[in-house]
């Protein structure tokens, strides 16, 4: 371990405030004159709202307003959107159904907000919510993604509840490779839905400033800039310069705080209607219904092996459950973030993947921890592991035989791997796990009447949302570009210690030599693409580039000096400079 730079032990810069109770999370903020919001949510998975009667509720003590989806639509507040366009095989665009912040006419999942009660205190808002009378006509519902296409249609725009039928890769080459296979492994796997549950529940505070006709939103957000863009340009709350989004300390996100949520839109809107700041704090039980869930894939996959255990091809067909509405980045998770990593750490010549995304009457699904990439790893690694067992091969050896060994390596699913030594990490992992001693441990365990097993999994992840070429070719709504500049944000954190990697990686002299400067505040507009703590992944790639460039300049400079002194040039690195994009 070195004393400074990458690998050095560095204390986190943000800890002091958290250790002393001085962190500032969104719920710690109170605005003068603030009201409290409570969302009344649908108890039905699928139902028509025949009538909402709010009269009694409005007269309850402390109530400031009881707001419905009809009023929201009347005020011309736009729908939430999914910002990533995916086209089906037939070229048709994904079927994005209208998603109002408060349901109007119909509810599509248990938890769909149907009314917003604003009161002086939370207890008063909850009391009043009990007096809102809603006449529902329940409709048949579907929760199982595998059966969604045959289920009752949820949105007019999406026949067979199908959002898109997408694919990646070349089916012909894959079919030919399978025809020549010595062995084919087939699996059916479910990657179950889960609830992210960061320790800090979500919070939104909307405040309207009548003097300037502008809004401020404080929210538990992993990317406030995108929130501002979406709420302004798509929801139409206010032009961007009249909407400020502030994300203070965040008590964990795990993806679930990336998205733009109905409550954020509704609190902003309600603050204008009531003329008071409106604060909503989710409770834990509510979070199960209100936060986007993760995963929920049903997959059939096959792997073709040659006689020597070499992988010849992989094909997968996945049904991805996106829930009742398309959340902000939901479409990208089972496509761009999934299929592009189906090569894992292996040199697989041919890959073909089909993904059908479907609506069901369930909580919307979006990116969660790794998002799509763990789902891909699960598919690849199960295929390899089961393949090894079927062919009676050592699973480590089968992996070793198929590892990518020469770089750069172009996979058949867009990604280009620039570097790696997968065999070295496998070897190290096997040493740490004492694989050699496993037989003895297993026998000992058996003597105690216990079963002991061992399994392998390798993993590769394309962190951040990059490279821009891949992102652009696969549908990112607002497009991306690349620039190389070090991002320095004041103090923001979300559990990933933004300041720490910077302190570590900031081998400052090297950086200075590269001629780069830290980013100004105004450069921060779209740094969100790194998803905050994933900035490490994106930034370090750029840092590497920067350092190479620095060395290049340095060498060029010393070569010039040498030349000036009549010596031989020493620009050893000048020829090795290359960009990776």
């Amino acid at each position: 371990m070195s004393a400074s730079g990458i690998g050095a032990k560095v204390r986190r810069k943000e800890d002091h405030r958290f250790l002393t109770g001085k962190g500032q999370y969104t719920d710690d903020i109170s605005r003068p004159g603030e009201t409290r919001a409570y969302f009344l949510r649908s108890p039905h998975a699928h139902a028509r709202i025949k009538k909402i009667d709010v009269k009694t509720a409005e007269r309850m003590p402390g109530v400031v307003a009881v707001l419905t989806g009809e009023q929201l639509a009347g005020d011309k507040i736009g729908h939430l959107i999914c910002g990533w366009m995916i086209h089906s095989k037939d070229g048709s665009p994904m079927k994005m159904a209208p998603h109002p912040a408060i349901a109007a006419g119909k509810v599509c999942y248990v938890g769909d907000p149907v009314a917003l009660i604003v009161a002086e205190t939370l207890a008063q808002a909850k009391d009043a919510a009990e007096k809102v009378a809603i006449d529902y006509e329940t409709l048949p519902a579907i929760a199982d993604p595998a059966k969604a296409k045959a289920g009752p249609q949820i949105h007019e725009i999406a026949p067979k509840n199908t959002i898109y039928e997408w694919h990646l890769g070349d089916p012909q080459n894959v079919a030919a490779a399978f025809a020549a296979a010595k062995h084919v492994t087939k699996i059916d796997i479910v990657n179950n839905r889960l609830v992210p549950n960061a320790m800090e529940p979500r919070v939104a505070i909307g405040e309207y400033d009548t003097g300037n006709d502008s809004f401020t939103l404080w929210n538990t957000s992993q990317n406030p800039h995108v929130a501002r863009l979406v709420i302004s340009a798509f929801v139409g709350m206010a032009p961007e310069h009249k909407l400020r989004v502030i994300a203070p300390d965040v008590g964990g996100g795990f993806g679930s705080k990336i998205f733009i949520y109905p409550e954020e839109v509704a609190c902003l809107w309600a603050s204008k209607r009531t003329g008071r700041p409106v604060k909503w704090t989710s409770d834990r039980s509510e979070a199960f219904l209100a936060d986007a869930h993760g995963r929920d894939h049903v997959t059939h996959a096959e792997m073709a092996f040659g006689a020597d255990g070499k992988i010849l091809a992989l094909r997968a067909k996945t049904i991805a459950n996106l829930g009742a509405y398309m959340s902000t980045f939901s479409s990208s998770v089972p496509t761009y973030l999934y299929a592009t990593l189906l090569s894992g750490q292996y040199a697989i010549p041919h890959i073909y993947c089909e993904v059908d995304a479907v609506y069901t009457n369930t909580v919307p699904v979006d990116a969660y921890r790794g998002a799509g990439r763990p789902e891909a790893t699960f598919v690849v690694e199960r295929l390899v592991e089961i393949g090894a067992r079927e062919m009676a091969m050592d699973p480590a050896e089968l992996r070793r035989r198929n590892f990518v060994r020469t770089f750069p390596h172009q996979t058949p699913v867009i990604m280009n791997y620039d570097t790696g030594d997968y065999n070295a990490s496998l070897k190290k992992a096997m040493e740490i796990a004492d694989v050699k001693g496993f037989g003895k441990r297993k026998r000992d365990a058996a003597r105690d009447g216990k079963l002991r097993g061992i399994g392998y999994s390798t993993y590769i992840e394309a962190c951040g949302i990059a490279p821009s070429q891949a992102v652009g070719s696969l549908g990112a709504g607002v497009g991306l570009w690349e620039f190389r500049r070090s991002a320095r944000q004041p103090d923001w954190q979300c559990g990933g210690a933004h300041r720490l990697p910077r302190a570590r990686a900031g081998a400052r002299d090297d950086l200075r030599a590269s001629g780069l400067r830290p980013a100004r505040h105004s450069d921060r507009e779209y740094l969100d693409r790194a998803w905050r703590h994933r900035q490490g992944a994106v930034r370090h790639g750029h840092l590497r580039f920067a350092l190479r460039r620095g060395r290049h300049f340095r060498d060029r400079e010393s070569a010039r000096q040498d030349r000036d002194q009549g010596k031989e040039g020493r620009s050893a690195h000048a020829g090795s400079l290359r960009t990776r994009h």
């Binding site: 204390r11 986190r12 943000e14 800890d15 002091h16 405030r17 958290f18 250790l19 002393t20 109770g21 001085k22 962190g23 500032q24 999370y25 719920d27 710690d28 109170s30 205190t121 207890a123 549950n197 960061a198 320790m199 800090e200 529940p201 300390d249 965040v250 008590g251 964990g252 795990f254 409770d283 834990r284 039980s285 954190q493 979300c494 559990g495 990933g496 210690a497």
Partner: protein
């Protein structure tokens, strides 16, 4: 409304509150001591742990009036001015926190653990004792290390 008075971090406080006000709401909303957090509505997470008369209590699971006349210590009252409490220092040294949301509750529970069980705490004891405190970020490993070190440093 109910009148409540208690001592919080050495200061006498008194207020009129709705009788259903929880102690955690009283601390956070009335006194603006926002270091004590709320992570659940089922008494499971421990983000809200404070000391009531020297004992660790989940402040989300008692009414403010139940602390009538009590001596309450929150995370804001643990350090000695600018000098961190040894348990706080141990969390910092052993990287026992990430997002920091569970941290105040963890530290309050840990100090109570030392008061009850002494300064030599093994991993198994610490893990068992942390049954009522959830952390979503760290995986607990460094929290356990921090508590063991903090316990020794409190001697």
């Amino acid at each position: 409304m109910t009148a409540v008075s208690m001592t919080v971090n050495g200061k006498a406080v008194t207020a009129d509150v709705d009788s259903r006000t929880l102690l955690v709401q009283f601390l956070r909303e009335n006194l603006r001591l926002t270091g004590t957090h709320v992570g659940c509505d089922t008494s499971q997470c421990g983000a809200c742990v404070v000391h009531v008369d020297g004992k660790a209590r989940k402040s989300c699971t008692m009414f403010a009036w139940q602390a009538e006349g009590a001596n309450v210590t929150t995370i804001e009252g643990v350090a000695n001015g600018a000098t961190l409490h040894p348990m706080q220092e141990a969390f910092r040294e052993h990287h026992g926190l990430q997002c920091g949301y569970c941290t105040p509750g963890m530290i309050m529970a840990a100090i109570d653990m030392v008061h009850r069980l002494g300064h030599e705490l093994d991993d198994k004891t610490i893990r068992q004792e942390l049954d009522g405190n959830l952390c979503r970020c760290t995986g607990y490993h460094n929290i356990v290390k921090a508590i063991a070190a903090g316990a020794r440093a409190m001697k």
